[in-house]
Symmetry: C2
Subunit: 199 residues, 2 copies
Amino acid sequence: MADAGSEQPRATRSTKVGRPRRSEQALLDAAAAVFVRSGVDAPVREIAAEAGVGMGTIYRHFPTRPELVVAVYRHQVEACANAGPRLLAESATPEAALRAWVALFVDFLVTKHGLAGALHGDSAGSDALHAYFVDRLVPVCGSLLEAAVESVGTPPQIDAYNVLKGIGNLCIGATHDARYDAEALVQLFISGVLARRVR
Amino acid sequence: MADAGSEQPRATRSTKVGRPRRSEQALLDAAAAVFVRSGVDAPVREIAAEAGVGMGTIYRHFPTRPELVVAVYRHQVEACANAGPRLLAESATPEAALRAWVALFVDFLVTKHGLAGALHGDSAGSDALHAYFVDRLVPVCGSLLEAAVESVGTPPQIDAYNVLKGIGNLCIGATHDARYDAEALVQLFISGVLARRVR
DNA sequence: CTTGTTATCGGAGCGTCGCTCCGCAACAAT
DNA sequence: ATTGTTGCGGAGCGACGCTCCGATAACAAG
C-alpha cells in the first residue's frame, strides 16, 4: 500500500492515520483576521465562525487562548527576537541598538489590539503567552541592555525581565487613547534605565 | 421638626422623603472589603451579597462600576492629591518631592488589586474612573513635574497626562509577580523624564 | 386606624462568554 | 459489509454584567 496516494491533494498526514486534520494554518489565518478586527480578546465563537469550524476544533488545536495567540504571532515574535543581535551588530552604538529594538517591540505591541494587555501571567504560572514572550525576548532584551549599559558606563539598575514587562505595560491601551504616546514613554523609560542618577 | 433626631445615628436624608435610603457608606464598606479580598473586578453579585442587599441596590447607587470604585477610593485619591503640594513645600528639592509623590501613588495602586488595570478609558469616554483619576491627579502631577523639570534645567519632555498614565500602567500586575518591581521601574522612568539626554 | 402615595428593595431573567463533553461522520483495516 | 479509530461540531453548563418589575415599607392625609 505504501503512500501511493493519488487522490489526496493536501494530506498533511503527520500523525499515524485518520483524516487530514483541518489545516491549522487556516485556523491561524482566521484567528489573525479576527484579532485585527476585534482584538486578541475576541470571543472564541467568533474565531470559530470566521474559520468555518466548530469551537471544539479551535480548542482541540489550541487548548488555551494563550497558545492560540502565541501561534498567531510566533513569526513576528521570532522576527523581533532575531532583530536584536542584528541591530546590535549594525547600529552605531549599543544604546542606539537598544532603542531601535525597543521601538520595534513597541510598534509590534501597539499595533496588535490588546496584545500588551494579554501579556500578564494572570493564571498562576499557566500562562503560555506570558511565558513565551518572556522566554524568547528576555534574553534578547538582556543582551541589548547589557551592551548599552556597559557602553554608557553605568551600573545595571534593573534586570531585563523587569524592563521587558515594563515596556509591555507601557504599551497597554495605546490604541484607545490618542493622547497617550507609548513610544515616547518607553524611550524616556530607557533613558532612565541608562541614566547615571540612581536616586 | 428640624433635625432633632434622637434614634437615627446617621440618617443621611438628602432627598425629599421616603425611606432613609440604605446607607451608601455600608455599601462602600462592603465593596471595599470585597475589593481587598477579590480585587476591583469582583462580581457585583459578590459585593451585593457582602453588603446583604440585592444587586439592584448596588446598581441604583452606583450605576457603573467605575462610579463605585471611585467612591470606594475617593478618600485615598484625595489624600494622594493633597500630598502633592505638601511634598513640594516640605521636600528638599522638587525632584525629591516628585519622587516621593510618585512612590505614594505607586504604593496606592499596587496595594489595590487590579486597580491599575481598571484605570483605562476602555468604554469610549464614559469611563468615570479614568476621568476622575485624570482630573484629580494630572494637575498635581503636573505641578510636581514642572517644578522638578525646572529645577534640573531640562526642557519638559512629556506632559503630565502621559506621565500619570505611564505610571499607572507600570503598576499593572505588580501584585501577581514577585519578580516585577513596579516601584523601581517607575523611579527609573522618572529618571528618564528628568534626564538631559533626549535621544 | 385606614388608605393612598411614593420611593426603595431584591432578585428573576436575558444576553454573552469561556470551556467541556458527547454523539456523529468519515476513513482505514479486516 | 463490518468494525475500529479519529477528528469534528455544537448543545449545554456555569459565571457574569446589567435591566426591569413586582413586592415592600414608610409616611401623609383622611
